[in-house]
Every structure is written in C-alpha cells, then in structure tokens.
Subunit: 280 residues, 4 copies
C-alpha cells in the first residue's frame, strides 16, 4: 500500500482523507473500514436477493433504491480514492482499483444500455473488496503461511492435476466406448465430465453406468479416486508439517565456545558446554 | 465441577446425595451414572420412534406413558441437582443446567399449551446430557487432545473456511449466469448451495449442470474441491503430529539447580542456568 | 497355529497330511494352498453369478453341479483338518474353524430344508478363508503395521466417531423439523440417515433439502463434513508417520566411551567421540 | 533414450534428423517438440469433437480432412523415427513405439475395413505421446518423487485396497440379502458395485437403500468409508514427509578420509572410519 507523500502539505484535507480511506490505525480509519465492510456485505446480499424471482417481483422498488444508494456510495468512495492518492494511475490499474471500478459500473451500464443479468452479476465481484479490509486482521499471517505451503507444493500439485486430467480423458473415452450414447454417455467430453464427477467422488448421478462392464470400470475409477486423493493431502500435509517445524527454530544463537547452535527458545547458556550465550 | 462444601454438616443427606448425583467414584455414584445413561439413551430412542408416523399411530399410548415416566424422572433429578448443590444459581445457568432444563420442559409445554413437533424435538437435546457422564471415561484425555489440535489450528481453519465460502459465492454466481433458471439454477443463493454441494464432493444430483460450459466449470469446481480438501487435512495432520511429538518427552532431565525441564535430547548442561545436568 | 505334536508317530500319514494342509513351507503344502485359493475364489465367483437372475436361469444345472463339487471338496478338507490336527476342539471353535464350517453347511441345509437365498449367501463367508492362506505372504508385515497404527489411534478414532454420530443425531433432528415429512424427511431416524449420507460426502440424492433454510443447514453440515474428514486422516497420518520414524532407529549400539546412542544404521565409530563401536 | 551412435557417419542427415526428432536441446529439436505437442493436443480435441453427434453431422468434412492430415503427419513422423534410430526393433516394441503405432493405425483400418467407433477411439491413446515430450520439463523431478513415494508405499496400498475390496464384497452381499432385487439390488455383483460407490463416498444415487435396516447398514458402510480414507492418505502423507526429510540434508559434511557423507546433525567424527570431521 502506498504511503502518503510528505508533499500533501498543500492540501492537508487530502492527507487526512487518505489516512481515513487507506489506513486503519486511526479511529476514523477503522470506522471507515467497518462501515465499508458492512456496505459491501449488504450489497452482496442484495445482489443475491435480487436473483430470487419472487422476492425481486415483490420488493423491486426497494431493491432498486438500495442498489442505487450503494452504487452512489461506492462511486463517491472510488472518486475519493483517486483524488487522495498520490499516484492515481497506479491505483486505477491495480487489482483493487479494477475491482472497485467493476463494483460500480454495472449499475450505470444497466441504467443507460438496458441491463441484463450478465452485467448485474458482475457486482458479485464486490466481494473481492472484502479482502482489502481483512488485510489488517490477524488472520493474514496464517493465510500467508497456507498460501506459502500451497506455493511450495505447486510443482507437485501441477503434476498431480495433470495426472488426474490424463486419467479422466483416457477413462472417459473408455466409458464412452463401453456405455455409449444409449446410456447417456453421448460424447467423449461428456464422458470425461462424468469421469471427473466420479474420480473426485462427487457423483451427481445424472449419468451413471448401466452395463456390468461399465459398472466394473466405474468401480475401478472410484477406487483410484478414493486412493489418489491421498496424494494432494500428503503433499500439503508434509508441506505444512515442514513449515511448522521450520518456524520452531526461532533461536539462532550460536555458542561462542563450542559453536553448538540448536538451543531452545529461552536458552541463556549452551546446553553442550555450559558457557554463557551472547545476549540476543 | 463444584466440590461439596464442608458446611453440608447441617444436612448430611444432601452431602450424600450430592456425591451420588455429581460424582462417580463411589459405587452408588457409578450406579446412578449408569442408570442415567440408560434412561437418556432410552429417551432419545423414544423421541426417534415417535417421529415414525406408523409406529406412533400404533404405539401412541405406550410412547405417551414412557415419555411421561422419563420426563418425571428427569424432573426429579433436576430438582435434586438444584437442592443438593451449594450454588444452585451457578448450576441453573451453566451449560449443563440449561440442557437439563430443556430436557424436561418440552413435555410440560406440550401438555399445557398443546404440543407441536417443534417443541417435542427439543427433547433431542437430551443427547447432550450424555457428555457429562462420559466426562469420567478414559476417552476424555484423547478428546481433549483432539479438541486441542483443532483449537491450535483454528486460525488456519477459519482462513480455509473463509476461502471456501468466497470460492462458493463467486463460482455459484458464475454458474447462475452460465446455467440460469431454466436448468434449475433459479437464484444465486441456490447456485451457491449447489456449489457447496459440489465443492465438498457431496453431489446430491438434485441440480446439475446441463450446458457444456456449465459442465466444464463444474469440473473445475470439483477438481478444486478434490485438491482443496488436502488443506484442512494437512493442517490437522501436522497439528496432531506436532502434539504427538511434544508429548513424547525424549529428554526427561530436570536441572538440579533451576528445575528447568525442557532440555534438548543431547543436552549435557542446563540451557537456563549453565549448571551440569545429572547423567541420564 | 498349532505345531504338530511329536506323538504323531503312531500315524505318520496324519503328520504328513497335517504338514500339507496346515503349513506352506513344503512343495506339497504350497501346492495345496494354491489349489485351495483357486477353489475359494472360484466358489465366490459362483455365488455371485448365481445371484444374477438371467444367468441362474440359463446355467442352473452347471451352477448346481459346480456348487456341489465345491461343497464336497470343502467338506473333505474340513474333515481332514479335524482328523489331522492334534486338538480338534480348539480348531472347531476357532475363528477359522467356524468359517470353514459355515463355508460348507449352507448347501446341505438348502438341500434338506429347501434353500432360500439367506442361507446360500452365507457362502460368501468363504471369502474369509482367503485370509488364512494369505497369512504366509510378504504383505502380512505391512498389514500388521497398518492394523497397529489403527489400534494405536483407536481411542482417538472412537472419540471422533462418537462426535460424528452426535452431530448426525442433532443435525438430523434439526433437518426433520425444518424440512419435515412433506419434503421426504419422514422421520428422525431417516433424517439422521440423510445426515450421515451428507456428512460423509456420499450424497445419494434420494432425499435432499428443498426449503432455503434446509439448504442453508445442509450447506453447514457439508462444510463440517468436508473439514472434519481431516481429523481421522490427521490421526492415522501422524500415527503412521510415528511408526515409520520408530522403525528407522534400527541401530541400537551405544558408544562404550561416551554412551552416545543415536548412530546411523551402518556406523562403525561413534560420531561424538570417535571411538570404535562394539560389533553388532 | 538411446544416444545416437558414432557410426552415423555414413548418413549425416540421419544423425541430424535423429537429433531433431529424439532430442530437445537444439533449437530445431525444441521446435519439433513444440509442433508435435500442438498437433497431439489438436488431434485429441478433434477426436472429442467428432464424438459430439451434432458437431460431427455439421462439420463432417472438415473433421475428415483434419483427421487425415494428422494421420499422415503422425505416419511420416513414425517412419522417420524408425529410419533415424540406431536399433529400430527396440523402438518399435518399446512402450512409446507401440503408442506411436496405435496413434496412426486406427484411421487406416477405419478407411479400409469400414470404421466403427471402437477403432477410432483408440486414437485417444495419442494422449500418451504427450508424456515423451514432457519428459524434458522441470516437473519430471517432482513427478519422479511422487511416483517414488507411491512406490515405497505400494505394499501398504495393496493391503489397503485388498481390505477395501473384501469389505465391499462382504457388505455388498449383506445388502443384497437385506434389500433384495425389489429395491434395485438385483444381484450380488451389482450390490458390490453399489457398495464401492458408497464406500468411496461417490454416491450416484442410481441405487439406494429403502428399508430401515438397509439404511442402517449403509450408514455403517459410509462411516467406514469416511474413516478408512484416512489410511491411504496417512500412508502417502507419511511417505512424502519422509522423502522430504531425507532430501533436507541438514548435515553436509563429508569425511576427509573416507568420503562418507551421511552424518547425523551434531556429528564431530566420521561414523564410518572414526576420523575427525572438518569444522562446519
């Protein structure tokens, strides 16, 4: 996040507003974030309720007014964000800048061009705005560690997903041949879709094997899927276990006499030779 | 659990009763707990059987009598608990106090106010009473360790659940747009519900994608769900592994000078005060 | 397995037969085991095929003859096992003795008393006989380790299953109240069954929530089930990890000079003081 | 992969072509691999699209031409591979040789003998050709480690799968007896199939228990399946964790005398020859 420039001196209200909008360590900044969070959550709920036909028919007017109130609120906020920041261009083309823009624009387009659902549903992206606010919570550390564990096992996960997709393409083709269009497997892509549904143990049941051979092969796919789920789990499990282990080594002191370096966190003396350790 | 006060001397039968009802280390106390356990399990089975229409029609009278027998038994027990305990108020508003109360009250309300199912089903809460009795079993240690492992990974699990919900809201909205009301995705909340059904690999099949694009996106959601399940597993797995490791106590030395006890496995000197540790 | 007594001297053919039937380290014993394995697998397949109506109608005679051939073979084997063993009673009432008996008796009962499916299907228990033969394979070690890991985590698993059942009973009751008989949740036990189907992420779809509130609660149950699966996995994972770690310590040598004991498997000298280790 | 013989001197174009076709470290070789990869992926997509009835009806001619273009490209490539390699026989009967052959032959057979779907779908095997090309990517190391982890836990996984199959056969037979043909469990093999569907938590819902006893047993199977999935996960998890640990190389010391390099973390002397190790 860009720190405010010292050269705000010309317009001190901009520096003030910047602090309120972009930061969260002043009471006003915190209040702003909480209000924003409530409005975002409220707007998401509104988008959902609008999609329910009988509610939309009944409360059309209320929804319309609320939607415009939120749109105007977000528009004002967006403009203020551009005005107060030092490098507006960088903000406008940043991830959150685009999300903020997409949060307001659909309503205007729907108003001028005649809205269809497609445009209005983009408003669901407002949800992403929540992340900016949550950035300041204490969970950010944990989420970074989880993302770190996933990133470290990225290569393994890609290999695994690649294997899953290959299995699904091959077994899907086999099922297409075995069951055929007369049992619902109308094309190879559909059979592959079915195979993914089965391998991932979802099992909708919209399509299912009917012939004994098809059921035998399906059993085979299911047992593979049941066993193969162990692989990503094992990968992430080992990775988190490792990252947990690594963070335990918080004491980096080395004994000045015997160079022993594996001391417990609150050690004051070397456990190997008994000499005093240096102050941390 | 509150220990009985020494001042029960005025009414020794209260102290005696307290011991029977609240404790389990005397033969009578144990017997009471076993009887209570049986009555609770019996009452739960009764509530279940009552809900089966044709059984309720056939054995209405038997169920009615059994229900009142249990209600009176629980009422007497509840009153005795209040009488014998030193601080009745604390008990009444404690978790188990409320559960005990809710175990008896629905029958009375149903009797006086004309019962509907809603009230009677609250009796299923009687099940929670089982926990108090099981408290004394040898499994309490294990369950504490499991709860401990879950508590330690709470932050990670909240982050994970938050990510799952965000994914479901976004993908649910996308599916609503792609499939639309004509294929069963009648509203965004319903699409989100479907997305949760799919991501968690439950897959009821009441709603399922019909268009090729919808099936493609569904495949994507399923594979995410299939891979993402690795994350909570990895978290808990690493946590349990750690808690197991910690309880292994490979070095049981205690420093003879400062009584520090957390030494590394090959420590010869106390890391806290520098004195020599005793030979193993 | 009982070792043959030295007192078989009176009937050397019994000792010989014992060796063939009960042991697998002579060529004849091995051959016997392989033949038996084939007959067992063949008989299982036969039981399965008989259950397929149109095959049974077509090949009734062939199945009948094959079934009697197998029954007589197993009967002879059973009698020989009793004759050759030193303590027949102990065998007869052992687990495998009972399984052997149940493998032959259904055909006789069906013949004399007029068979129904129930009796004939008991023959599927013949499958258990396979275990005796597999006892000699190299997989027995691994299976013992897996069973060991499961046994060690027994207490944790019981606590976990108990929690799952409690959750299912409570949430099942709630769903019964929310959805009610008109949406398929006709009784509390059925709702509990549905809850187990959902929590374990099986999701048949024969019953599924229809009301928005029911779908919301169902989502909640699914996410619990999705997260909770991490617990048994974590338990077993940590247990296997531990058992693997423990078996790594194959070198139990202790240095005669400095008493250091954590040597690598092929160590000849102490890594701590450089003195020669004792021969293994 | 066979390295080119020095005796290509007679036909230098063969050595050149060999380099382009079989290797990937020259610009031309890399280009060839990328072109091949694109053609393979394109041909797979073509096979899929052909299987969609309405697309095939509409673009029959385009598909026909594209298919023959690919077939001829693969045929030429196959012939060039045979010509340029030093030991053609070894290639022809190698895994990739057979895959390459099966990638081209179905089109010819379909042309001469009148094609049916069965033959044409073999072309989906072209997918396997992708592996040869991906061999050179950086993911090969990770995939080898994953395969290694799976290989190491092979014995455990076989024991596990054997147990799953035994459970499914026994519980499938039980369900056949309990539910019977009138509720869809028309034969024992079908019941076993249902049991696999349930135990692996797939749950299509095409067959599902209707009687209370059947639902009770099904609940039991589901909870087993839910718990048992922990076993393969635990196995692979522990294995990956171990393989990660082994590659961490915490002690990188090499003995200056005997070049032994597997020392424990705090070793001061070589455990193999007893000489002092260099200071870290």
């Amino acid at each position: 996040m860009n720190k405010p420039d010292k050269t705000y001196s010309k317009a001190p209200w901009r520096a003030k507003l910047y602090e309120v909008i972009y930061e969260a360590d002043t009471p006003m900044g915190k209040l702003f974030d909480i209000v924003l969070l409530i409005v975002i959550v409220f707007s998401i709920i509104l988008v959902m309720l609008e999609s329910i036909a009988h509610l939309n028919a009944k409360y059309y007017e209320e929804f319309y007014i609320a939607e415009w109130a939120i749109t105007i609120f977000f528009s004002v906020e967006y403009i203020l964000r551009i005005i107060t920041i030092h490098k507006p261009k960088k903000y406008i083309f940043s991830f959150y800048g685009i999300v903020d823009f997409l949060s307001t624009i659909p309503s205007y387009i729907a108003y001028f061009a005649g809205g269809n659902n497609m445009w209005l549903a983009i408003r669901a992206l407002r949800l992403l705005r929540v992340f900016r606010i949550l950035k300041v919570t204490r969970y950010i550390g944990e989420s970074n560690r989880l993302i770190g564990a996933l990133k470290n096992s990225r290569a393994k996960i890609i290999v695994f997903l690649y294997a899953v997709i290959i299995i699904c393409i091959i077994m899907g083709t086999v099922m297409y041949l075995v069951e055929g269009p007369e049992h619902g497997y109308t094309s190879i892509p559909l059979s592959i879709y079915w195979c993914i549904v089965t391998l991932t143990t979802v099992g909708f049941g919209d399509i299912h094997p009917v012939t004994p051979l098809g059921q035998f092969i399906a059993s085979f796919i299911m047992i593979i899927g049941y066993g193969v789920i162990a692989v990503p789990t094992g990968i992430v499990s080992a990775e988190i276990s490792k990252s947990d282990r690594n963070t335990v080594h918080t004491n980096t002191q080395v004994c000045p006499v015997c160079h022993e370096s594996t001391h417990t966190d609150h050690a004051g003396f070397c456990h190997n030779c008994g000499n005093k350790l240096n102050e941390k």
